[in-house]
């Protein structure tokens, strides 16, 4: 279980403090798939990065299974059981897909066959990818799936995915939903957090948290929140979407 208490994150631009997250408190329970959603620029990815330790909050406290991890490094958090999939995965010259999966799994001697399982799970034909370098020869979508495979291989108590759908084509998207659905079915004792705008990801959520302008706008179970967000005018309003077809661009 992860608890965020009064998390603030500010950046200083030209001498002015700008609040990205303002006093965010929330609890992410075990055994649940939680989706954090909300408009662009609202602070979702910042929150995910704060959980993984990639950035430190200006103030506030983070507890993981009751332990204060606020000042822990990325590595310590990873070892405590937090996994993080980047929105924009990193490329490495020289490191192969199998190397990343071995590092994620923490087993240098992991066989290629075992490593392949994780690629197959994200819909990649494992044989074609396992020995490829994680470099610019891979497309954005391939890279994204490999990124998700590394987080699957790490098998964390809590896995955070920052906009997994970004950069994935329509055909692969269905596959991605199945991956998360599969993870959710085996969620016992762990938790999944997905930052997403996608209705179909929201639909498989147990809990939905909506973040807007740096604070929690709404939170609750999927049944409570989803109807408010989808197919209604409030979805358009709450996400700040301008409906061009209704002349909203004026």
């Amino acid at each position: 279980m992860l608890e965020l208490k009064n998390i603030k994150y500010e950046v200083n631009e030209e001498g002015v403090d700008i609040g990205i997250l303002n006093d965010v408190s929330l609890t992410i329970p075990n055994g649940k798939l939680t989706v954090i959603t909300g408009p662009n620029g609202g602070g979702k990815s910042t929150l995910a990065r704060i959980i993984a330790g990639v950035i430190r909050p200006t103030s506030g406290q983070i507890l993981f299974n009751g332990e204060d991890i606020t000042d822990m490094s990325i590595t310590e958090r990873a070892r405590k059981g937090i996994g993080f999939a980047f929105q924009q995965p990193v490329r490495f010259k020289g490191l192969k897909v199998v190397d990343l999966i071995r590092i994620a799994k923490g087993e240098q001697k992991l066989s290629s066959a075992d490593a392949c399982k994780y690629l197959a799970a994200v819909g990649l034909c494992a044989r074609d990818y396992i020995n490829r370098e994680v470099n610019s020869s891979l497309s954005g979508g391939e890279l994204k799936r490999i990124e998700i495979a590394t987080v699957l291989a790490k098998n964390s108590e809590m896995s955070v995915f920052d906009e997994p759908e970004a950069g994935i084509d329509l055909w692969s998207f269905q596959n991605l939903i199945e991956v998360f659905d599969g993870m959710r079915k085996n969620i016992e004792g762990s938790s999944i957090v997905i930052i997403s705008h996608q209705e179909r990801i929201l639909k498989i959520a147990d809990e939905i948290i909506m973040i807007k302008d740096g604070h929690i706008e709404e939170k609750g179970t999927s049944e409570e929140i989803l109807p408010k967000l989808t197919g209604t005018e409030s979805a358009v309003k709450s996400c700040g979407i301008v409906d061009l077809w209704k002349g909203g661009d004026k």
Binding site: A78, V90, K96, L100, G106
Partner: protein, 307 residues
């Protein structure tokens, strides 16, 4: 022939050899040949006038290998060695060279190997050369290899040149001349650390129609070390040439990359790329989210880069 522990360790580093190799070989230790084997197709003989050997590979020899490792474990030894490889028409062989210096003394040890390759028509050569230094003496470990490659029509030569650790000073010079349809592929991997200095120069002449060269260097300069990479590809015929220098700098490491292209034929297609930079912060962060420490992440990135 018996090998002592230092010799065994160096042989393992430079030639991945755990014991006396099969096939043709010549093991040189502290200035003399301590073991040699010729085969029906590959003959190794000492040069009459200077230090070194001639390796003659018969035309059509397939799937055979030649190992010619050099071990120096005596401080203060300096030598020039001339090795010539004659690769007969249509042969397909693996040549593993490599030199390791273990210097525990205060005097410098130096091995300058001059390797010449005469590759006949349609022959294929894979050449692997590893350089390695060890020992905690104040004497420097110096290696200045000179490699000359003369490639006849339709021949192929792939060279892996690796210097990962422990060589204080090196000037590597590689010169190649290619006839029609010949192809050369070079993968160089170089890491320098502490106060080391490394210069690597390539000079490849594409003289025949359809000849091609691909020279790729990956380099890491750490601590206070310095590297200079100069690659010149000259296109004298309709040909294609590519050189790439990709480098990581760390600490106070410095690298100068000087790629050069010269086209003397309107159908010469020549390309070069060079990039130098430190390890990207996000690469470290990614591996740290998988549980590695920053130091471990750095090592994983470098060992992948130099693999």
């Amino acid at each position: 022939m018996e090998l002592n522990d230092t010799q065994k360790k160096i042989l393992e580093e430079v030639a991945d050899l755990h014991k006396i190799p099969v096939g043709a070989f010549n093991i040189r230790s502290d200035g003399e040949s301590v073991g040699r084997n010729s085969t029906a197709n590959i003959e190794i003989v000492s040069k009459p006038d200077v230090s070194g050997i001639d390796i003659r590979i018969k035309p059509g020899t397939k799937n055979e290998s030649v190992h010619i490792p050099v071990v120096i474990s005596r401080a203060g030894l300096k030598e020039n060695v001339y090795n010539d490889f004659y690769v007969g028409e249509g042969a397909d062989v693996l040549i593993v060279a490599g030199c390791g210096i273990d210097n525990c003394g205060s005097a410098d040890s130096e091995h300058d190997g001059i390797h010449r390759f005469f590759i006949e028509k349609n022959a294929r050569v894979k050449y692997v050369e590893k350089h390695y230094g060890s020992g905690n003496g104040s004497g420097k470990r110096i290696l200045n290899p000179v490699t000359e490659v003369y490639m006849d029509e339709g021949s192929y030569c792939e060279m892996e040149m690796i210097q990962i650790k422990g060589v204080d000073d090196t000037v590597r010079t590689t010169h190649a001349e290619l006839k029609a349809g010949a192809k050369m592929v070079v993968h160089e991997r170089l890491m320098t650390h502490d106060q080391q200095n490394a210069v690597s120069k390539y000079d490849v002449e594409l003289n025949g129609e359809g000849s091609s060269a691909d020279v790729v260097s990956r380099a890491v300069a750490r601590d206070d070390s310095y590297q200079k990479f100069e690659a010149k590809i000259i296109g004298n015929a309709p040909c294609s040439g590519h050189s790439e220098c990709d480098s990581i700098i760390m600490d106070n490491g410095r690298i100068l990359a000087v790629p050069a292209l010269e086209a003397n034929d309107v159908d010469a297609a020549l390309v070069h790329e060079a990039a130098i930079g430190k390890i990207a912060g996000e690469q470290l962060v990614k591996l740290m989210t998988l549980g590695l420490t920053e130091k471990e992440a750095e090592e994983a990135i470098i060992s992948g880069f130099l693999k």
